[in-house]
Symmetry: C2
Subunit: 289 residues, 2 copies
């Protein structure tokens, strides 16, 4: 069991991981990429104090070096769910799970909206995880939506199991080549069905499928954590970066504007202190256990 | 009239100034030193993301270079009072004053406590400003308390006016040399008097004086801004870094723990955005004026 689980590889997640390491905390850090897409794509950042003029790629590289210099480990698994399991949280990452006393959410702002019906059918025909659920669809017809090229090996894996894959890459130049994969260059609008998901719905078309995989580099926080309070698309936090769920903190763009590197880094840093205080207070009230 | 006045030269003030400059704001920045003492004295900082291992002095130097590279001007005047004068704020800096639509307070945490009676007699025998009030004490006996060597020229100035100066330097190796200056190496405990301040009180002694100058590199926020809400020695702010006074924001250590460089820098950055929104909203509600 870890004291702190940090989810996200943007400036908030990086800062939280660095501070957790420097404070010698027992923590685990999930960041599916070395640096978030949003950082990597920033043209020129002039107001990150101490780094007078850096591109997003340079900032990412500098952050990465900082982490490396401290020997910080980054796990590439995508966390697909966080569950309150009594005195701790259980984090699902594909077929694996991890336990932590506190969670710091740094998912950034999720650009892609959830599809209509997505949450309703999650676990009943809709899945976020090829590794965990792929086997359920051997010889069946499935749809796969992916926001990111880095998931293409998962699409190939699913194609090796399924009879037929409708593949909706939400990016350009996909190179999935399996013969049973049919690329559909359209963004769906929703999922419909009865007890289970049965159709992937487009504006002008409906595909009847047995299962739908949605592979995103970040999952909407309210989907990731059941019952998490959000406001205007942001995770609600107070001045101590506490969400409405005791033990779960949030930092960075996900907590609201301004979307700024140093604001995010500052919150990631502070969240570690608040998480630490939460653990200390809880262990005291439990009589030192 | 400036849109934003930033007070303080620590990481929050630096970050606010950098972001205000990059956003091309009409602002003025008061920072009595190139870098705050607290930063300069930090031994080794390992968790400011992007600068893997820097001393406080190096961080200060790096921040200073960043400001210079953007051509940011820093004013050395110490602000001794911020007054709400209707639609704007008036900031007193010695004999000068400045006007701004919004103020971002980044004073850090004031280490030295106020003296008993200090606030009561402020403006009635107690002064923070040698330049403004020195002339009132020509040929009189005064006491001068100073937290910082950088004020010694003000002590000399006061000595050139007063008959006698009792000087309490709260640091080592003071070099004030005027003949009418008597150095007293003790920290007072309070000020007493009737209508005006009459005595500077020590644990074991009382000095009868006509005036008392207290020269500090930072003034307690609640003294600086009348009516400012504080809690446990920190300026009360909400998630938008708004204090209880509309138009006045606060950022950095002054808003509460953790006392961390990147947390302070993050707040300084965000405060500029909130100040900007405040101005925009106000100008809209005033019909575009």
């Amino acid at each position: 069991m870890y004291d702190i689980a940090i989810i996200g590889g943007g400036p908030a997640g990086v800062s939280a991981a660095i501070t957790a390491k420097v404070k010698n905390k027992n923590f685990i850090w999930f960041a599916s990429k070395a640096v978030s897409d949003k950082v990597a794509k920033a043209e020129l950042i002039k107001n990150y104090p101490g780094l007078p003029s850096v591109t997003g790629a340079e900032l990412g590289w500098t952050f990465g070096n900082h982490c490396d210099s401290l020997g910080i480990e980054r796990r590439a698994e995508v966390i697909t769910g966080v569950y309150d399991t009594g005195d701790k949280f259980t984090l699902l990452a594909g077929a694996k799970d991890y336990e932590a006393k506190t969670v710091i959410l740094c998912p950034g702002v999720v650009a892609s909206k959830e599809y209509e019906g997505e949450e309703k059918f999650l676990g009943r025909g809709v899945s976020y995880c090829a590794t965990c659920d792929g086997n359920l669809y051997k010889g069946r017809n499935i749809a796969v939506i992916s926001t990111d090229k880095s998931f293409e090996h998962e699409v190939e894996y699913l194609a090796s199991l399924a009879a037929k894959v409708y593949f909706m890459p939400l990016y350009k130049n996909s190179v999935v080549q399996s013969k049973n994969v049919e690329i559909v260059m359209k963004n769906p609008v929703g999922v419909t069905g009865g007890m289970r998901a049965e159709n992937l719905v487009f504006k002008d078309q409906t595909l009847a499928v047995d299962g739908i995989f949605i592979l995103r580099s970040s999952i909407a926080p309210s989907t990731l954590v059941h019952g998490l309070r959000t406001e205007d698309g942001h995770i609600f936090v107070n001045r101590r970066l506490e969400t409405n769920i005791a033990g779960i903190f949030a930092a960075g763009d996900c907590t609201g504007r301004p979307y700024q590197y140093v604001k995010a880094a500052g919150e990631g840093n502070a969240a570690v202190f608040y998480a630490e205080e939460y653990i200390n207070k809880k262990s005291k009230s439990a009589g030192g256990n």
